[in-house]
């Protein structure tokens, strides 16, 4: 891991996509969100990488943790059998990549949040 400073954090409203992949090692990004598109709500600060801390390593440099919002329809697809709602999850920067804005999230950005 390089010691280069991280770029400025992503702004609220930035469309992101959670990376896919299934690491064999410790990981806090839930499987059901991998590959899903969402929108950054806010940056929560920078923290040592838990994937490193889990193995007694320092986890430095720290990574930005983001609160990301997803539409239930994006996450569950045809498995959604209830009224649409939003899912909010905390995801570290190295699990996020840029994405086109999901249509469902674009039209109601800033509305009140459903359950998380």
């Amino acid at each position: 891991m390089s010691g280069a400073p991280s770029p400025a954090p992503l702004a609220a409203g930035t469309a992101v996509q959670v990376r896919t992949g299934a690491p064999l090692t410790h990981c806090r990004t839930p499987q059901y969100l991998r590959g899903k598109r969402g929108v950054v709500l806010r940056a929560l600060g920078r923290y040592p990488n838990p994937e490193e801390l889990a193995y007694h390593r320092p986890g430095m440099p720290p990574l930005t943790l983001y609160q990301v919002e997803f539409d239930a329809a994006e996450v569950w697809g045809e498995r959604l059998h209830e009224a649409p709602y939003r899912i909010t999850a905390d995801i570290f920067e190295h699990w996020l990549e840029p994405a086109g804005l999901p249509a469902a999230a674009a039209h109601d950005m800033g509305a009140s949040h459903g359950r998380a």
């Binding site: 299934a22 064999l24 410790h26 806090r28 839930p30 499987q31 059901y32 969100l33 838990p50 994937e51 801390l53 889990a54 193995y55 007694h56 986890g59 996450v75 569950w76 498995r79």
Partner: protein, 105 residues
């Protein structure tokens, strides 16, 4: 899909018991042990290492153990990983206690 047993978001599930759980002396002791060992001034391991240990349990063990029983297994594994105690010393001590109690070691 590759995932550990704890990563169950989206799986079918019944109602969630949101009631308070009784707290036993065992629970409190395990909690205290973790807090002492993971305290930044001691820093033997982190809560992330705890999670890694608990979340790598096989499904049968994970679902078969109570919450703090998972914790105590993780504390034991991490104490051995960090060289605080050896597996042999731990087994010897557990056998001695079992014998003292008249249980089968």
């Amino acid at each position: 899909m590759d995932r550990n047993v704890h990563d169950m978001g989206g799986d079918p599930a019944g109602p969630i018991d949101q009631g308070e759980h009784a707290r036993t002396v065992f629970d409190q002791r395990v909690d205290a042990m973790l807090r002492l060992l993971a305290h930044p001034q001691k820093g033997y391991f982190t809560v992330d290492a705890m999670r890694r240990s608990i979340e790598s349990l096989d499904p049968q063990a994970y679902h078969g153990l109570a919450y703090y029983e998972r914790w105590v297994r993780a504390v034991r594994q991490l104490a051995i990983e960090r060289g605080l105690v050896s597996q042999a010393a731990l087994e010897q001590r557990m056998a001695a206690i079992a014998a003292r109690r008249g249980a089968r070691p």
